[in-house]
């Protein structure tokens, strides 16, 4: 009975779901951007290598 009574009068947690979503968007977004940057740099190096090897052959 006491539990039921206190249940009706306890304060609910603050509504902060939006901030949680924002926080996790930053976390996953930053990780994703870093992974894309790793992939892009790798691809650019590969292109550079191909060009440099071509130039080496011509030399």
């Amino acid at each position: 009975m006491i539990n039921l009574f206190t249940m009706f009068f306890q304060e609910a947690p603050a509504e902060t779901t939006g901030y949680m979503i924002f926080g996790y968007s930053i976390i996953f977004g930053t990780l994703m951007i870093y992974l894309i940057s790793l992939f892009t740099r790798w691809r650019n190096f590969k292109k550079d290598q191909e060009v440099l090897e071509e130039l080496e052959k011509e030399k």
């Binding site: 947690p13 603050a14 902060t16 926080g23």
Partner: protein, 232 residues
């Protein structure tokens, strides 16, 4: 460049799976905190990112010292990789902290010792990346990087200890903090399990990303040598 090692491929997938499990624990296993609500869930990855940021800078200082003793450029590649990752994880730590602070402290930013020292640490290592760009000679660049990473590391213990030695409103997770801390909470068993698992997962992700970044650095070195050979 040699193909990606099988161990690294496995580590990539293990990291991804662990991140998925940790995310599940954060959103569904850990209970909602009674006062702060859902924003408290940011805490799990916020602290884990901060821990990995410190770990990255620690790796950078260790390999920096090894470089200064051996003059082997492979240590510089590892140092640069560690600093880059440290910056990325510290950025996540600072920004998520600010997002958590908005509803809890009623402000995005306050001149609190932890926030200030963490931001100074981030700027010190950001300057490391910028200053490196200006040095053409690889040996000089590596020596500069090693010395800078070693000296810059003084900012890491200052940032870590700031909430334990100065008056602050930033909560302390492990140990006792300032009585003026705002946003502290007692962790239940599922919260503690999620917190410890998140620390473990971010450490695994750090190892995986560091390995990938080192391979990228080695590839870059190879291209640089090829370019120099052609120019000679």
């Amino acid at each position: 460049m040699p193909p990606k090692p099988t161990a690294l491929k496995i580590l990539d997938w293990v990291s991804l799976a662990l991140l998925a499990i940790a995310s599940y624990m954060v959103f569904f296993f850990a209970p909602m905190e009674a006062v702060m609500g859902n924003v408290q869930r940011v805490f799990y990855f916020h602290v884990a990112a901060g821990w990995v940021g410190f770990l990255s800078f620690f790796v950078a200082v260790i390999v920096g010292i090894i470089y200064l003793r051996t003059n082997d450029l492979k240590w510089d590649v590892i140092g640069l990789a560690a600093v880059e990752l440290g910056l990325m994880f510290s950025f996540i730590n600072i920004v998520t902290g600010s997002i958590w602070a908005r509803p809890i402290w009623n402000t995005w930013w306050t001149w609190d010792p932890r926030l200030v020292t963490a931001t100074i640490m981030e700027l010190i290592y950001f300057a490391y990346l910028m200053l490196r760009q200006g040095i053409e000679n690889p040996v000089r660049r590596a020596r500069f990087g090693a010395v800078y990473a070693t000296l810059g590391f003084t900012s890491v213990p200052i940032s870590f200890l700031s909430i334990r030695i100065w008056r602050t409103i930033h909560p302390v997770v492990i140990g006792s903090g300032s009585s003026e801390a705002q946003g502290s909470f007692d962790m239940t068993s599922p919260m503690l399990a999620t917190f410890l698992f998140s620390l473990f997962v971010f450490t695994v992700i750090f190892v995986d990303l560091l390995w990938n970044r080192i391979r990228l650095g080695q590839y870059g070195e190879k291209i640089e040598q090829l370019r120099l050979k052609l120019m000679a």
